[in-house]
């Protein structure tokens, strides 16, 4: 994965990196010692990068989550899982490439995998509707999860969607029913499950494969009830206020951990997963092993009980103690 496309705030870093590369090749070809200049540049790069990435706004982090070079589900699946066998179709209507489903192994251990796929080139993007899944995608995912339950294999889901597909076809085939059925079904699946938000966690489309024992989020990913643009359009009546909406909605990994919505944050290499894919993938792998190991050591009834309680307790409200006793 190259770094050709870049975000505005990445520009000074990419420029410095290019300078270093140029100087290196120049030094090599001319056989000159540029060690001193190089180390100066490295120091400068370090300082600039530290400065840029320490002060990113939520809206800038959303840009990283949507970065065109950000690794997608298929990238992680190809890198992490051996013997991947893909499942296609919901056996009711059609296949939806926006949700990749299948089984694969890490270090000899089998996992069930579901992941949103945005599509890398334009052809794949069109087929995947840019990561917006149709009802048949959610129903295919459900088929896979039931098989995982039967075979007693842990489920890993990779969440990366702007939202479920908003169109006529999806409505006709019951988008809400498909998502609701998955959300309800996942509460009682008798096998451990873990969701990893690797990019965009877009509302119901994300939760449709996201009700799991463990929810982890990658550092620069977001998870929200509505896209910042959607929120801005409704509340501010102005899509350009997306940056304000991104801050107001508290959608970044740290906020989500503080509110108890996610269980862990998976660190990304500095600047985002796209700047060092292997490092990001290795961090995911470590997290998968850590948590599935914990879940598998718990009796299934206890796990189900914990899962139910976890979601039953989500969110706070005010209740006057006196009236509570009367009821």
């Amino acid at each position: 994965m190259g770094n050709e496309e870049r975000l505005n705030f990445e520009a000074p870093i990419v420029e410095l990196e290019k300078k270093i590369e140029d100087l290196k090749s120049f030094a090599e070809s001319e056989k000159i010692d540029c060690e001193e200049e190089l180390s100066m540049l490295y120091l400068k790069l370090e300082a600039v990068a530290k400065n840029v990435y320490a002060s990113l706004t939520p809206w800038q982090k959303v840009q990283i989550a949507r970065h065109p070079q950000r690794p997608y589900s298929r990238d992680y699946i190809d890198y992490l899982f051996e013997d991947f066998v893909e499942m296609r179709g919901d056996k009711k209507f059609s296949d939806d490439p926006a949700l990749v489903c299948g089984f694969g192994k890490i270090d000899g251990k089998t996992f069930a995998i579901v992941g949103h796929q945005k599509g890398r080139d334009i052809k794949e993007k069109m087929a995947c509707h840019f990561g917006c899944a149709h009802p048949e995608g959610y129903r295919k995912a459900w088929r896979l999860m039931k098989l995982a339950e039967k075979m007693k294999v842990p489920i890993i889901t990779f969440i990366d969607t702007p939202g479920a597909y908003p169109g006529i076809s999806a409505e006709e085939r019951g988008q809400s029913e498909a998502i609701a059925a998955n959300i309800m079904g996942m509460t009682t699946l008798r096998t451990p499950s873990m969701a990893i938000i690797i990019g965009e966690g877009g509302s119901g489309g994300a939760l449709g494969i996201g009700l799991t024992d463990i929810v982890a989020i990658m550092e620069n990913s977001y998870y929200s009830v509505i896209s910042p643009e959607g929120c801005a359009a409704i509340l501010w009546r102005d899509k350009d206020k997306a940056s304000e909406a991104a801050s107001a909605l508290k959608i970044m990994s740290k906020d989500l951990l503080d509110m108890g919505i996610v269980d862990d944050i998976i660190q990304e290499p500095r600047g985002g997963a796209h700047r060092n894919f292997k490092k990001a993938a290795e961090n995911i792998k470590a997290s998968i092993f850590k948590y599935t190991h914990i879940c598998e050591n718990v009796a299934i009834e206890t796990l189900l009980d914990r899962r139910y309680k976890k979601y039953r307790q989500m969110g706070q409200f005010h209740e006057s103690p006196m009236l509570k006793d009367v009821n």
């Binding site: 479920a164 908003p166 169109g167 006529i168 999806a170 409505e171 006709e172 085939r173 019951g174 988008q175 809400s176 029913e177 998502i179 609701a180 059925a181 959300i183 309800m184 079904g185 509460t187 009682t188 509302s203 119901g204 939760l207 449709g208 009700l211 998870y223 929200s224 009830v225 509505i226 959607g230 929120c231 409704i234 509340l235 501010w236 304000e244 909406a245 801050s247 107001a248 909605l249 508290k250 959608i251 989500l256 509110m259 919505i261 139910y308 979601y311 039953r312 989500m314 969110g315 706070q316 409200f317 005010h318 209740e319 006057s320 009236l323 509570k324 009821n327």
Partner: protein, 280 residues
């Protein structure tokens, strides 16, 4: 009814659309734009006598429509939303809540409790579409989950009347989305306990509400011509850049596509529910 109180069916004065009407006496039907005497509308449970358009009912009106007289006992009436995010929008969430409470006389967008239909006890929930568009925040989710618990404890059927154009409530951010999980998990417990759940959809039922408990009924019915779906029609139009066909996402559309058991007019709703719960 005296002749001067009867709505004049023949007069379709569309110019009235522009003129404002005095508060309290008359309403204009959103379906046929005819002006209707409010008293007549109320007696007819807000169904237009001319075109049978179903106007919005408040939660308490819904209770008197469906529950036996004086049988409904409200529960969890003291639950109130808190500003979990410290939401800073054009209006703060705290101000928004205060305004909506004043406007509707409700603490939040849902009423829950125990009541009777033709003498049979049910656990009953009804959302109020006037309160922040009937959207679901933590309080709505919690009250539904508790209504499910009551249904299991008392071994009585659960009925939820949904009406929300908003879906999950933006002001509570991700916490609202988690209410989809909370309510769906609760319904799953209800299924394990073997209790019946009837989901009644009214205009409009969209987004997060429809993608969770509203879609999970054992029996799912809707009022005529209600707007029901996942994505709102305006957003779909923006996505596909064309106008949507007539009747798209209506109750009748859903019935045709196999997502409803029946479309039931408001006047027949109580009898229908009574018949279903008498079966089990």
């Amino acid at each position: 009814m005296p002749w001067f109180l009867r709505p004049k069916k023949s007069i379709k004065n569309l110019e009235l659309k522009r003129k404002s009407l005095p508060d309290g006496l008359w309403s204009r039907c959103d379906g046929c734009y005819e002006t209707v005497f409010n008293k007549v509308l109320r007696e007819n449970f807000m169904v237009c006598p001319s075109c049978e358009h179903h106007l919005t009912l408040s939660a308490w009106q819904r209770v008197s429509l469906l529950m036996d007289k004086d049988s409904f006992e409200e529960h969890d009436s003291d639950l109130e939303s808190v500003d979990l995010l410290g939401f800073k929008g054009v209006k703060s969430y705290k101000d928004k809540l205060r305004d909506e409470q004043k406007k509707t006389g409700l603490k939040d967008a849902i009423l829950t409790g125990i009541g009777k239909i033709d003498g049979r006890e049910v656990s009953f929930c009804v959302t109020d579409a006037r309160f922040i568009m009937g959207s679901m925040g933590v309080v709505v989710g919690e009250k539904i989950a508790r209504a499910v618990d009551r249904s299991i404890e008392r071994k009585v059927p659960l009925i939820i009347v949904s009406g929300s154009g908003g879906g999950a409530r933006m002001y509570e951010g991700i916490n609202s989305l988690m209410q989809l999980a909370k309510t769906s998990a609760a319904i799953s417990k209800l299924n394990q306990a073997g209790q019946l759940y009837i989901s009644v959809l009214t205009n409009p039922t969209m987004a997060g509400i429809m993608a969770s408990f509203a879609s999970l009924g054992d029996i799912t019915i809707a009022e005529p011509k209600a707007l029901i779906g996942f994505t709102g029609p305006r957003v779909i139009e923006q996505t596909i850049k064309q106008k949507l066909p007539e009747g798209f996402q209506s109750s009748e559309f859903l019935l045709e596509h196999g997502f409803l058991d029946e479309v039931v007019a408001r006047g027949q709703m109580k009898d229908y529910l009574s018949k279903v719960i008498s079966l089990f």
